[in-house]
């Protein structure tokens, strides 16, 4: 169908991109992985010819079990909760905004612009502005006084309160809980779709997990020799609000485009069948928006996992409750001169991001075939 000449032209066209990405992405990552297995970062890290020795996986082991790396472990917990809240709320708020805009009498352009413009700002600007707004002393907490109520008392970014406090040593035990919840939801969806075979597997694994949890056998396996408490830091709410403010315009635009592509015949048919507007929304519109949700989760997810500029601008670089792995990586490498450890954190980040992205890539590309 295509001539050889055309095929050749195609290959030549795409080759530069492949080569460039090969170097700039894969080459540099390989370099990072190599660096992370060395001890670069001891005394004379900055010499032109540093004495570097290979230490295998020591850096990784130290990050997860070292006494001083409690900050890194807290970063991981923060990252987990932040990603959940940020992605979830962005999707929800975006959907609500899109639905509202779709139903407006007038001013669509105006409102759409108002909700969309935060995307045009850099995260540094967003962080700086919200840092001011979230000041416990004079920012948002002052607003209730405008209508005669007492001022707010929440410390926002300065808060050191924690919820859902758990012991890192028992992480595997809690991981089982999380897996159980995820699988239960998935099992429910399999049941709704009538896939009996898959459902059986799900139930078996759920059973095993439930057994592990009930018997508390995993709590015997301590990841650390001492208890180390972590939890969801209330201070993260401030960061989540700023981030959702910035990115909800994106999900809104996606959902708006999605809502507009739904063929009116489908809606008409449902209306003829006697459905109310709300029912049409729930049973016609929402299911058709699922692919959008999936791709939005991937985009927002990877932004959340790598978040750096926003945290740096919105709070101090050394504030635990809002710290994230990318920030710690930057500080370790460039302020503490521990370049190998910084690379290790980078590799871990990369690995976590891959966990999110690779399944999505596989599923979406397999679906195309």
């Amino acid at each position: 169908m295509h001539t050889r000449r055309e095929h050749l032209a195609a290959i030549v066209t795409i080759l530069p991109s492949i080569i460039l990405l090969g170097i700039f992405v894969y080459g540099f990552i390989a370099n990072s992985i190599y660096m992370s297995t060395t001890d670069w970062g001891q005394t004379a890290a900055m010499s032109l010819d540093p004495q570097i020795e290979s230490v295998g996986l020591d850096n990784y082991r130290d990050l997860f079990t070292g006494f001083l790396n409690v900050r890194f472990r807290q970063d991981l917990v923060n990252m987990f909760f932040f990603t959940l809240l940020f992605v979830g709320l962005s999707l929800l708020v975006g959907l609500v905004l899109a639905t509202i805009i779709d139903q407006l009498f007038w001013g669509e352009t105006f409102f759409r612009t108002v909700f969309l413009y935060p995307m045009s700002l850099s995260m540094v600007v967003t962080g700086t502005i919200w840092r001011w707004i979230l000041q416990p002393r004079g920012g948002i907490n002052v607003l209730p006084t405008l209508i005669g109520l007492p001022p707010g008392k929440f410390l926002w970014l300065s808060s050191r309160d924690q919820r859902l406090v758990f012991d890192w040593s028992h992480l595997l035990h809690y991981a089982c809980w999380v897996l159980l919840v995820v699988l239960a939801i998935s099992a429910y969806s399999q049941w709704r779709q009538g896939k009996k075979g898959r459902l059986a597997w799900h139930l078996v694994i759920c059973g095993v997990l439930a057994g592990l949890i009930a018997s508390r056998v995993l709590t015997r396996l301590r990841l650390l020799p001492y208890p180390e408490m972590h939890g969801f830091n209330d201070a993260l709410w401030g960061v989540v609000i700023a981030a959702v403010w910035q990115m909800s315009g994106y999900t809104m635009a996606l959902y708006l485009a999605g809502l507009r592509t739904i063929p009116s015949e489908l809606r008409e048919a449902a209306r003829v069948d006697g459905g109310s507007e709300l029912q049409i929304y729930r049973y016609v519109d929402l299911p058709l928006l699922k692919p959008i949700t999936a791709s939005a989760i991937v985009i927002l997810g990877h932004i959340a996992l790598k978040i750096f500029d926003l945290i740096f601008a919105i709070s101090s670089p050394d504030h635990y409750p809002t710290s994230m792995p990318a920030v710690t990586m930057f500080l370790k490498a460039f302020r503490g001169n521990e370049l190998a450890v910084g690379s290790a954190i980078g590799v871990i980040l990369f690995f976590i991001v891959s966990l999110l992205i690779v399944p999505y890539l596989i599923v979406s590309f397999r679906r195309e075939e």
Binding site: Y117, S122, T261
Partner: protein, 273 residues
């Protein structure tokens, strides 16, 4: 239908309320940028300035003006280059079966997800060795390369929707690789080009990490100048706020004027991303 009307009225009210919430940060930025430094205090953060202190904008503009040119050159050229290359890549990956083609797209897209910090040191050394460090051409190259995954993805998703029969018909008519691209694909590429250009322009204009580590002072873009306003031991907040407003103007204008096309472009199939 009255329930439909009620919903629409409700939507209207909610929209107004939410818009006020979304505009709060801009209000805060604007009033702080117009206050004299001595007046800026956390306690009076919400109060309007006693007298508009426009000097901050003057100072910010003075500091920014050289960097503004850098930012424009950087953002425009990197956006255009990455868009063009992305478009070509998307064309190849959607319409041609080449060896390794199935693996190529996931490998390219994967490049979108790396944290920039983890490649900073090797990237720097590479730029150093190829003598590209310090100037705009190097920074443009970096942004083009790291922009390739998303632009390729967006274009490919869009081009997938173009029926293969049209391509075959063109091919039979004697149009070669470039002919098909110029006469068939390109004319249809308006919407994805707009989405890609808007997205890339914003990302590159606002990017800080590479901007600060890979340039020498004469080539620094505006994000670095903005950080310089807010740095140091003694910060008078009116300057960074004024600076933020100025720095955000181009991208905000892009979104205000072209926002409709952004949505339309997403509508037209760049959605699949």
């Amino acid at each position: 239908m009255s329930s439909g009307k009620t919903i629409r009225v409700l939507a209207q009210i909610l929209a107004v309320l939410l818009a006020m919430v979304y505009l709060v940060p801009i209000y805060m930025t604007l009033i702080t940028s117009l206050k004299a430094p001595a007046e800026i205090n956390v306690m009076t953060a919400w109060a309007l300035p006693s007298k508009a202190h426009w000097a901050s904008y003057g100072v910010a503009w003075e500091r920014f003006a050289p960097n503004l040119q850098n930012s424009f050159v950087l953002a425009i050229s990197a956006t255009l280059l990455s868009a063009i290359m992305g478009s070509l890549n998307g064309y190849v990956l959607s319409k041609y079966r080449i060896p390794g083609g199935k693996v190529a797209l996931p490998l390219i897209v994967f490049g979108m997800f790396i944290p920039y910090q983890s490649v900073l040191v090797p990237l720097f050394r590479f730029m150093q060795q190829t003598r590209l460090y310090g100037g705009l051409p190097g920074l443009i190259l970096v942004h083009v390369v790291y922009g390739l995954p998303i632009t390729t993805l967006l274009f490919r998703s869009f081009y997938q929707e173009i029926p293969d029969e049209l391509v075959d018909a063109s091919s039979i008519d004697g149009a070669g690789f470039w002919g098909i691209f110029r006469h068939l694909i390109l004319p249809l590429s308006g919407p994805p080009f707009l989405v890609v250009c808007i997205w890339q322009f914003t990302q590159i204009w606002n990017e800080f990490l590479f901007a600060v580590t890979l340039t020498k002072p004469s080539s620094q873009p505006i994000t670095v100048a903005l950080a310089n306003l807010a740095g140091g031991q003694a910060v008078s907040w009116n300057l960074p706020m004024a600076g933020s407003v100025l720095a955000a103007l181009p991208t905000t204008i892009v979104y205000v004027l072209l926002g409709r096309y952004f949505v339309r472009g997403l509508l037209a199939g760049a959605l699949k991303g």
